[in-house]
Amino acid sequence: MSERLAPQEKVPFWRSPQGRAWTFQLCMVGAFLWLAVSVYSNTLANLKTRGISSGFGFLGNEAGFRIGEVTGIPLPQGGLLWFLVSLVAGLAVSQLISRHLKSKSDRPMNSKWLSVCLLFSIGLPMLTLYIFRDSVEIAHYTESSSYFMALLTGLGNTLKVTVIGCVASTILGLLVALGRLSPNWLLSNLSRWYVEINRNLPVLLQLFFWYFIVLQQLPNVRQSIDVGGWLILNKRGLYLPSLVPQQGAWIFCAAIVISIAAIWVIRRRARRILDETGVPVKILFPSLAVLIGLPALAWLLGGQPFTLDFPVLKGFNFKGGTGMTPEFTALVLGLTVYVSAFNAEIIRSGIEAVSKGQREAARALAMNERQVMRIVILPQAMRVIVPPMTSEYLAIAKNSSLAVAIGYPEFVSVGGTILNQSGQAVEIVGIWMGVYLCISLLISFGMNIYNSKVALVER
């Protein structure tokens, strides 16, 4: 063989498979570049001949219109930058320590060193946050803000819906999936109808249903459902008292962060002891104690860090407090219900993909049903569940753009307004495409990392 293959080196490159492959690939790249360049120059030429101005300069102009729902956007001021730097530095130091310890001995690091690491990775950023606490600016959009700020506000609204929708549809989907798998005839059939109905109706129709039919049944402002001034519900939305941060608010927030970190440490330690000695450690009470105790202490120290602002009927509407508008509620409900039906099917198929023997083996080890599900079935189902779940999360992000039909000011809606005010159609559509691409890539990036963690480890 090798003797006959030897002359291969003299084969001209257009006859060698590699050479041809490269040629075709280069041709493809060339054709693509040519297409891109010609589309670009064509567009510019077209815009020019029609006297349409182009470029992104308009983003700095004053927007002049109002947006119904504005979430504050933390702007990267000097202080925030230092916070990020110190966060990275703290994590790096703790990584170095753990690497160093690992190289010395095979055992995982003990709790003494772990606390040193935690001190660095949490303490350092907290310290900078404290020092620079006044220079972290939260920008609120107003009419005199720029188009750019308007787009950011719309993007914030989109992300808010996406994050809440993803979490809620996952939880709801899991519940429905477990319902379908339940031996209870009624429960499993109800879940089945839930899935079939919601999966087969167009999502836009569901949004209209929630917005124009369900939520408009609520009473008018003056006939609001009022629960002692704490909870007010009417056609204009749900109103709740809002927390107004006072002087000591940051101590309280820091305490919550620290207590969550501490619980994480406690859990890790319990895991390690379980792994090494086989003795399960109860962590519920210590965790609860930390979670409640530390913030309570901070509350006392900070001298009531928050006050409540109650919604009051003033003129036309309720003022003050916080709450949810019907547009937001309808969008989250519609997307959550729609996607949860798909999620339920994905989770169910994942659970059913785990072979029966696994369940039987787990039962043979005297595990109860909850343990079987939590320790044996779900971890194995995850590797079937995660990839299709990613596309459902992407669907939430993309379908949130339907909100323009029910008046929720998300990214496409705000962009559309700007498009019409400024007439920069090509630029705005370009921004839309770019931003949705980024959101989708970020979601799938995160899900891929998670997937590689839960994927079957093959040796």
Binding site: N317, E327, S413, L419
Partner: protein, 336 residues
């Protein structure tokens, strides 16, 4: 949906190599139909009648132009306010007649030409009668329903800012959704052009329960729009509209146009109806164009009365849209 449509229209802008700048008239004649953009549903201006035929004030001017260039057919493209300008820019339509406000930035920056103002309008506000509000200055803190992608959004913001008042906008993509949201009580105020409010009110569950406030917060000169650069085409649209206005002044109607053509001794009437002179052939049309225009839609007053006037559900008064010699702003340059 709306997103994809806008996206598609933008693709058109991007993809089309270069359609001929001049020569809209030739293209229309070659196609045998006029491509025109108008409302999806705005009664009085552009809506489908019970036979599925498109009728309305904006539609009549489209039909007038179609009669002028003598094409039998019009291809209507129903557009949201967000889609209308890109649709014209991209060449998807050749004439936009959809209550579009003439503003400087649109005229200068977007490659568009505004022709003649067919309706002098202004932005108004509608509230429920039961609120007992008569002055727009009492609207501090109100929730306002409106349609995205028009001058409406800027005007209402300006009005509230100017008077030191606050409001919460709820912005929809389509006018019917704005109406539904307002009608079910989501908002205190419905705002758009006064004529549009009248049109929307006629579709409410109980039109009598709603009142349009007298405060007009902006100037909204509305009229058909064409692409910038084809002067012959914009001249055709302009003079077609002016002909309907001049016809009202001279008392020429849909019914008597043939008689006026045959018998009128007024030299200007003879010129504008194409009996004498070369006004219409100079424009690139034939001598029969003016009579065809008036026969198809009538004069300006007839168009107004048929679609918007007191005998229609919109019950609009002529107001500023009266002829110039009767105290209004409707004024056609001389046919000479």
């Amino acid at each position: 949906m709306a997103f994809f449509r806008t996206y598609f229209i933008c693709l058109l802008i991007v993809a089309m190599a270069s359609i001929a700048q001049a020569g809209t008239l030739e293209n229309v004649k070659k196609d045998g139909f006029l491509k025109a953009g108008t409302h999806i549903e705005n009664p009085g201006f552009s809506a489908l009648d019970s036979n599925g035929k498109r009728i309305g004030f904006d539609v009549d001017f489209i039909r007038a132009v179609a009669a002028a260039v003598d094409v039998p057919e019009v291809k209507y493209t129903p557009l949201t306010s967000k889609e209308r300008l890109p649709a014209l820019q991209s060449g998807e339509i050749d004439l936009l007649s959809r209550t579009t406000t003439h503003t400087m930035s649109r005229d200068v920056k977007l490659g568009l030409d505004f022709t003649v103002t067919t309706l002098y309008d202004g932005q108004g506000m509608m509230v429920r009668k039961e609120l007992g509000i008569t002055d727009a200055k009492d609207l501090d803190g109100a929730t306002v329903c409106l349609q995205t992608g028009s001058t409406t959004e800027l005007n209402i913001s300006d009005f509230f800012r100017k008077n030191g008042m606050s409001f919460t906008p709820v912005v929809f993509d389509k006018q019917p959704d704005v109406r539904k949201a307002y009608d079910t009580g989501r908002c205190d105020v419905h705002t758009t052009d006064v004529s549009g409010l009248a049109a929307q009110r006629s579709l409410m569950e109980k039109p009598g329960d709603h009142v349009i406030l007298s405060e007009v917060i902006s100037k909204e000169p509305l009229g058909p729009v064409v692409r910038h650069g084809d002067n012959q085409w914009s001249d055709i649209v302009r003079w077609t509209i002016w002909l309907t206005m001049a016809a009202e002044e001279k008392g020429i109607t849909q019914a008597n146009v043939d008689k006026m053509y045959a018998k009128s001794k007024d030299p200007e009437v003879q010129r504008m109806l194409g009996k004498t002179g070369t006004l219409w052939t100079d424009l690139g049309l034939d001598k029969g164009a003016p009579v065809r225009i008036i026969k198809s839609v009538g004069n300006y007053g007839e168009i107004f009365d048929r679609n918007l006037g007191p005998k229609t559900p919109l019950r609009m008064e002529r107001g500023l849209n009266q002829q110039w010699n009767k105290g209004g702003l409707i004024y056609a340059p001389p046919f000479r």
